[in-house]
Structures are given as structure tokens and as C-alpha cells.
């Protein structure tokens, strides 16, 4: 789950990373009581979780007298379709130089990986393209509790030593908050020391519970309902509903729909043990999407009971046609049950997908 800038900064501060003085407001008027905390210039920052926020006009640098107006504007200014629920107002730092630093998990070496660039404040991809020599990366064992000194020296090169403790603290925050990504861009030097001028933190969805996060905000309401039922679910914008078991098989079903020039409405992986009740819930959930015309159920497993799955589909009692491909035990009983209730069961996933694309186009 992605955290917003101000949430990430709160966590970074807890691990000793200096952040600019600032205040989080939920409406423009809240700012009035805080204006005396700032000297002249302030930065007003829309708290939406999208990349390129600055370029899109989501960050305004202004005299503090005009800050309330700026906040008013940002509260009603959509960035890539998102309206902020909160705005962060901060002191304007006397920036001397901007750097980039992030920590991620490298899939190949299975280690934390620090990425540092001598130029910050711009997209790291852009730096990689235009100034690759300014980029340095280093991985190290996840069994270490700190970034080893020799690696830190290699990463920093000629950059100021003062950045070292901040990067080390970023690593501590990264570990303690189960992060997939911890990023400071820009990390800035000023006459008053080093600051994290921006902050980004993505928390591992598998660790949300132990991080004390109860609801994953990255999900749409229907995606959250699906998650509560133990399904993996992604909303798309076609008219063919898809239910499968296993992420790979379900993805492959979506791909096959595209291959035959259809459009899938969703991805739904019912997970292991697709029984009567779970199948019924899954079918209802998918049928509840407004554009779904036909539903494909593609279940393959040694232990899937096809008669139970058939009963689940029939229990759901939906309006749309359901076309199934079931492989498991009691296939004949399942097929007979479905046929009796006007649903189709075909042999292969290609047969099912072709039939669904035809029906969706009709």
C-alpha cells in the first residue's frame, strides 16, 4: 500500500530523518491558525498519490499571505483525476543541492538495494537516461542492521558525508515499516543541515496487519470486498467477467480473451479450495459490475469438485450467462447440473473464451 507524503514523512521523522517544519490540513481555513508558525515563503503540496505531481501543478510555492488561497485551489484541483483529502504546508527550505536516494528489494539478488543519484528532484528514470554516471547502486545482506560504512562511502562518492546518517536511518525505516520502497527525492542539503524534502513509502501488502494498517487504501470498494472474501481481484473495463483459480491461469484467461479480441471486465482469482459458497460469492461479485454481459469461469485443479462449483454458480442465480471450464473430480455431475440450469460447460479454456467473446459481441 502506498503512503501519502505526509504519512511517510511522519515515519521517516520517527527514525531520525530531518523533515521540513510543516502542517497537514483537511480544509483551507485550518491553515489560518498556523500561518504564524511560518516565516515568509511556504510550499503548499497536494497529498495525492500520483507521480509527476509537481509538473501537474500540485505543488505551489508562495508567500504565506497567499497560502490559504493556494490551498483552496489545490483542494478542488484534480491531479490525474484525484482530489486531495489533505494538503501539506511546509516551510520553504534554503536548498543548496538536491540528491536522490531510494531503497528497494532487488529480486535477482534478494537483497535490499540502495539507489543514489547526485541529481535529485527529477525522475530517476530521467537521470538514468541523461546522466547515468551520476547514479550509484549497492546491495547488501538483509541480515545486517545497518548499511556498512564501506558501501556508504562508495554510494556517496564526493557527495557530503552528512547524507550518510540519513541514508542509514532510511534503511532502518525501510526495514521497520516492511517497505517495498522507501524514497527521498529530493534529499536536500541546506545551510541548516540535511532534509527529506519529499517522501515516498510503499508498504508490503503481506505485512499490513503487523504494521497496524487495517484497510488497504489502494483498492476500490469492490476490490476491498473481494479481498475480504479472500479473492484477488482487479477491475478492468471490458464486458467479459472472469473467474479463475490461481493468478497465472486467471491472467492467462484474460490474455486469451484479448487474443480473440474480447475485453475482460475483471481479474478474479478465487484461490485454493473453490467450494460452493466461495464460487457463489465470486459469481455474484463479478455479475454486480455494471458492464458485465457474460462470465467465464475457468477452474483447474486436482481437487476441485466440479459438482460443488456448479451448485455455487446455480446458487448465485444471476442474469448473465455463465460459461465454464472445470477440470477436477465429478466433472460429469457438474456438467449435467449446469446444463439443466441453462449454463454451459466446455472442454478447454480456448473453447470457453471464444464462446464468451462471441456472446459479448452479440
Amino acid at each position: 500500500m502506498k503512503l501519502l507524503e505526509f504519512e511517510a514523512k511522519e515515519i521517516f521523522q520517527k527514525y531520525g530523518i530531518p523533515i521540513p517544519d510543516g502542517v497537514v490540513i483537511r480544509n483551507p481555513d485550518e491553515l489560518r491558525g498556523h500561518l504564524n508558525e511560518f516565516s515568509d515563503e511556504v510550499v503548499v503540496k497536494s497529498q495525492v498519490d500520483v507521480g509527476g505531481r509537481g509538473k501537474a501543478g500540485g505543488i505551489i510555492v508562495t508567500q504565506k499571505e497567499d497560502a490559504v488561497e493556494a490551498a483552496k485551489h489545490l483542494f478542488s484541483f484534480p491531479i490525474k483525476g484525484l482530489i486531495p483529502k489533505a494538503i501539506l504546508v511546509e516551510e520553504k527550505l534554503p536548498i543548496e543541492h538536491e540528491y536522490y536516494v531510494s531503497i528497494t528489494i532487488d529480486r535477482t539478488t534478494r537483497q535490499p538495494m540502495i539507489l543514489f543519484a547526485e541529481t535529485g528532484g527529477v525522475d530517476i528514470e530521467e537521470t538514468a537516461r541523461t546522466r547515468p554516471e551520476a547514479l550509484r547502486r549497492a546491495g547488501f545482506s538483509p541480515l545486517l542492521s545497518e548499511v556498512p560504512g564501506f558501501l556508504m562511502r562508495r554510494i556517496l562518492g564526493t557527495a557530503p558525508k552528512e547524507l550518510g546518517p540519513v541514508i542509514n536511518n532510511l534503511y532502518k525505516a525501510f526495514c521497520a515499516s516492511d517497505a517495498l520502497l522507501a524514497e527521498i527525492n529530493p534529499l536536500v542539503t541546506t545551510s541548516r543541515g540535511v532534509f527529506a524534502a519529499d517522501a515516498k513509502l510503499i508498504i508490503d501488502d503481506n505485512a499490513l496487519i503487523r504494521q497496524g494498517i487495517t484497510a488497504n487504501r489502494d483498492l476500490t470498494p469492490r476490490e476491498r470486498e473481494a479481498e475480504e472474501n479472500g479473492f484477488s481481484y482487479v477491475e478492468l473495463d471490458g464486458s467479459i467477467g472472469v473467474i479463475g483459480n490461481g493468478a497465472g491461469l486467471t491472467m492467462s484467461t484474460l490474455d486469451l480473451i484479448e487474443h480473440y479480441e474480447g475485453k475482460a471486465a475483471n481479474f478474479l482469482d478465487v484461490g485454493g479450495g473453490a467450494g460452493r459458497e466461495r464460487v457463489m460469492k465470486a459469481v455474484r461479485l463479478v455479475a454486480g459490475m455494471p458492464d458485465v454481459k457474460v462470465i467465464v469461469v475457468n477452474l483447474l485443479g486436482g481437487i476441485t469438485r466440479c459438482d460443488e462449483v456448479a451448485k455455487g454458480i446455480i446458487d448465485a442465480g444471476i442474469d448473465q450467462h455463465v460459461i465454464t471450464r472445470l477440470a477436477g473430480t465429478n466433472e460429469d455431475e457438474g456438467k449435467a447440473l449446469l446444463a439443466k440450469n441453462g449454463y454451459q460447460m466446455l472442454e478447454t479454456m480456448e473453447d470457453v473464451v471464444k464462446q464468451a467473446v462471441k456472446e459479448a459481441a452479440a
Partner: protein
């Protein structure tokens, strides 16, 4: 047979849970059919002395190993405790752990894998269906009746999609040497590269089907690392960016790991890429 054969003795960690107990039974049914040793002991801390489908349960891997000849474990321990269980198995001296568990926090996985490596223990998974050497050994939860013995290895990040491919190959009369589900998490113990290394020294395996999906670039890394004839399939050509497609590792992030560029890179290496699972048998036949 790249991870063991019918003489391999198995310990199941998380033996008394629903999943563990259920699959002890299925693994031992398969062992009985194929003349293997199957699961010889179970481990669940605090449940020592119980029996699951006639198999004795111990409080620790160390205790189980003192009583039984076993070199490998299959792990069904819940996500929050699974990292610890991997380290326990490695520390007790097991050679191989197959971690079926889905939902392990990735920092736990990362630390457990680093620890296991220091102890000289190989880890498959997590979030995987395990491995199957048809007629010899089943470690995990794959349905063995779809498979038949033969010369084609399979390596896959997926579970059921792998069964689909096994099914297609078997129907086409192409048998499998070993099928390896390496897992759907971003951090896994055995990547394509490492499994391919084992296949290279396996006299039974003549060609390998590599089943990948969106996220990361382990498929391309694997494909460049081997001289074995390969056929590949990549799931997720229709997957939208920044959305997790079921697996924790199946996500196109920052414009990287999408199916189109993966496929392009594989084709550039001269490796055949199947457009759909049903095309795989014909492509494999060309290699044999």
C-alpha cells in the same frame, strides 16, 4: 529428478493445520502409488506426540530428524511464522525446504533466504505449489494425475497455469522430467536461473518450458543463463500497470516487467514464445 527421488524422506512443517494434514495424505498416497518413502514426520511446535494420518508429529525439526531419516521439508506454516520455520529447517540441517505458504512478508522471506543460504539449505518458494518428478517424488501440492514421466522440464511462477501446461503436454504425449513451481512472490529462493542450472546436469531433461508472468525480469535472466533448448510462455499481456495480478510479485512497476517487453527480449534471444498455453506442445516437439 533434480530435487530428490523415491528414496527421499519428507518432513512436513505445519503438519497439524488443515492444509498440512490434507497434503500429508495426498503426498503419501502418491508415494504409495510410486514406491516412494513420502512424508515420514510432521512438525508443529506445541503439538509433539500427535499423529496426522498415521504420521508422528514433533515439536521441532531437530527432534523429527533425530528419529527419522529425512533430508527435505515441505512447509505449510502460516505467513507470519513461515520465515522462522524456514530458518529452523535450515539450521537443523535439512538440504531443501519447499515453502508452499502464501502471504509471507517479503522482509521475512529475504532474511530467511539469506540465513538458509549461509546454512547451505536450498529453498523453493514461497507461495509455490512445489515440485513433481512424475513417478518419483512429489514435494507439495501439484495434482500428479495430470503428469506423465518424460524428458521435458517445466519451471513456472504459477500454480494452476502450470497444471494447464502439464495437461497440454501430457495430452500431446510429451512427458515431464521434473515440474518446478518457483512461486509467485517477488523474492523467491530458486529462480529460473538456479533451476535451469540443475536441469543442465540432469540427464533426463532434454528441453525446458519456462512459464513466466509480469513483474521483474527473472525470466530473461534465466533464459540468457542456459544452453538448454527452451520454450517460454509469459502470462499477463493484458495486465494493467501498477496492479497486483493475484501474485505479490505479478506487478508492472515503474514501467518495468510488462509482458510485451519480456516477450520481445526473449524473442531477441531466439527463444520461441508461445502465444497461448495450447501452442506449447507443438513448440516443444520442434525442439525434441
Amino acid at each position: 529428478m533434480i530435487y530428490g527421488d523415491h528414496t527421499t524422506g519428507i518432513i512436513v512443517q505445519g503438519a497439524t493445520g488443515n492444509q498440512g494434514a490434507f497434503h500429508i495424505n495426498l503426498m503419501n498416497q502418491y508415494a504409495q502409488e510410486t514406491g516412494g518413502r513420502g512424508v515420514v514426520a510432521g512438525v508443529t511446535p506445541g503439538k509433539g506426540g500427535q499423529k496426522v494420518h498415521g504420521i508422528p508429529v514433533y515439536n521441532s525439526v531437530r527432534e523429527a530428524m533425530a528419529e527419522h531419516d529425512a533430508t527435505t521439508s515441505v512447509l505449510f506454516v502460516p505467513g507470519f511464522a513461515a520465515g522462522d520455520s524456514i530458518m529452523e529447517a535450515a539450521s537443523a540441517g535439512l538440504e531443501l525446504v519447499t515453502a508452499i505458504t502464501e502471504g509471507i512478508p517479503v522482509h521475512d522471506t529475504m532474511r530467511a533466504l539469506a540465513f538458509a543460504r549461509m546454512e547451505g539449505c536450498t529453498v523453493i518458494g514461497p507461495n509455490c505449489p512445489g515440485t513433481l518428478s512424475p513417478g518419483e517424488l512429489k514435494l507439495g501440492i501439484m495434482p500428479p494425475h495430470l503428469a506423465m514421466p518424460g524428458n521435458v522440464g517445466i519451471i513456472s511462477r504459477s500454480g494452476t497455469l502450470t497444471y494447464e501446461v502439464i495437461n497440454e503436454l501430457t495430452r500431446a504425449g510429451i512427458g515431464q522430467s521434473t515440474v518446478v513451481g518457483i512461486g509467485g512472490d517477488p523474492v523467491i529462493g530458486q529462480t529460473f536461473t538456479e533451476v535451469l542450472e540443475r536441469f543442465e546436469s540432469d540427464p533426463q531433461t532434454k528441453a525446458v518450458v519456462l512459464i513466466g508472468e509480469v513483474g521483474g525480469n527473472l525470466e530473461e535472466e534465466g533464459a540468457t543463463s542456459t544452453n538448454l533448448p527452451l520454450v517460454t510462455y509469459i502470462a499477463g499481456i493484458s495486465a494493467p500497470p501498477e496492479k497486483r495480478m493475484g501474485h505479490a510479485g505479478a506487478i508492472i512497476e515503474g514501467g518495468e516487467g510488462d509482458a510485451v517487453s519480456k516477450i520481445a527480449r526473449l524473442r531477441k534471444l531466439g527463444i520461441p514464445v508461445a502465444e497461448k498455453p495450447s501452442d506449447i506442445p507443438a513448440l516443444v516437439r520442434e525442439l525434441l
